[in-house]
Amino acid sequence: MAETAAKKPKVRYPEGKIVVFEKWCKRCGICVAFCPTGALAEDERGVPYLATPDKCVLCAQCWLRCPDFAIIKGPEIKEEE
């Protein structure tokens, strides 16, 4: 598989309920603004992270709204062969 080296997204919070891929995030602010529970916050660079994991109710708003596929549901993660 010659392609595997290219642009592999980096996992920021592999153990979390949601995962943010920094490489694809364009810092649009949509996920943080529309998270209904306030679980997400922006770091100093404007990149979102799950600041309060306990608040996350896995409502799907952030990963459905993300225009860049940069947020996915944690348990959906599977290791690639």
């Binding site: 592999k8 997204p9 649009c28 602010g29 459905l64 225009p67 596929f69 996915i72």
Partner: protein, 274 residues
């Protein structure tokens, strides 16, 4: 080695990401909704064809791992018509911008709708020509600003839903990127529908339309969509004054019984063989 979500099976993520779209552009969110609809319907991705013309929205086929075709400006529906006639078992999804689908491609659109050919047309309506730098389009509202309407647009805009119904499409709906759950459900219904299914999706172009119309951030534009859309069921109880300046969202027409073009064509072939 690396993480993987099921949705990545439908993306050309090894080569093409991140996307070219500006931060907070609605096109990516719509792309996610289309892929999730295909996933939830359980379609084999090899049976899905996405066809586009030219524009920011027309870059979508580069990123999805369906059969894809990126054609010339305004002509996506013509190419899709050919594919559908040649291989009727394929599911055809056409994505156009408002310029691509209603200005240069307006003629293809009304005639495909009139024929009621089994194509799902997702019209990504950002009220502006994004790719070419912010000229006004057939859906730029009157008095809104564009780089070619620096004093405000003097033209009235098309109502895409009324246009689709009048032209003869058998499934016609409107939704908005803000209404993320509704958008997913409507796209799913549109894909399942046999016949021409048109979905007018109100989307945001923050860097051109937003900047010129006092909505600088994607979040502000999404909140604008929230405030300026009314669900079709709620709208039925409101007066025309209350609906002034609002966009009604929901399914306006869903008629499974209208004759579909490819089926009619096949019937004709069969009858001539007898």
């Amino acid at each position: 080695m690396g993480p993987k979500s099921p949705i990545y099976d439908y993306l050309r993520y090894k080569k093409k990401f991140p996307t070219v779209w500006c931060p907070g552009c609605g096109i990516g969110t719509i792309m996610g909704a289309i892929i999730r609809a295909v996933m939830s319907l359980g379609y084999d991705k090899n049976d899905v064809v996405m066809v586009s013309g030219i524009g920011c929205s027309s870059r979508m086929p580069a990123y999805v791992d369906f059969n894809t075709l990126h054609t010339t400006h305004g002509r996506a529906i013509a190419f899709a018509t050919g594919i559908k006639l040649a291989k009727p078992h394929l599911k055809l999804i056409v994505v156009t911008g408002d310029g691509d689908g209603l200005a240069i491609g307006g003629n293809h659109f009304i005639h495909a709708a009139r024929r009621n050919i089994d194509i799902t047309h997702i019209l990504i309506n950002n009220s502006i020509y994004g790719m070419t730098g912010g000229q006004y389009s057939p859906t730029t509202p009157r008095r809104a600003f564009a780089y070619t309407a620096p004093y405000g647009n003097i033209e009235p805009d098309f109502d895409v839903v009324e246009l689709g119904i009048a032209a003869g499409a058998s499934f016609v709906a409107r939704t908005a990127v803000y209404h993320i759950i509704q958008m997913g459900k409507i796209i799913e219904k549109a894909l399942k529908h046999k016949g021409y299914s048109l979905v007018d999706v109100i989307s945001q172009c923050p860097v051109l339309y937003g900047r010129l119309n006092k909505m600088r951030s994607p979040v502000e534009m999404l909140l604008w969509q929230k405030e300026h859309t009314v669900d079709i069921k709620v709208a039925a109880k409101k007066s025309p004054e209350e609906l002034e300046g609002k966009y009604i969202v929901g399914i306006f027409k869903d008629d499974p019984d209208m004759p579909e073009y490819v089926s009619e064509y096949q019937k004709l072939i069969d009858s001539l063989k007898e």
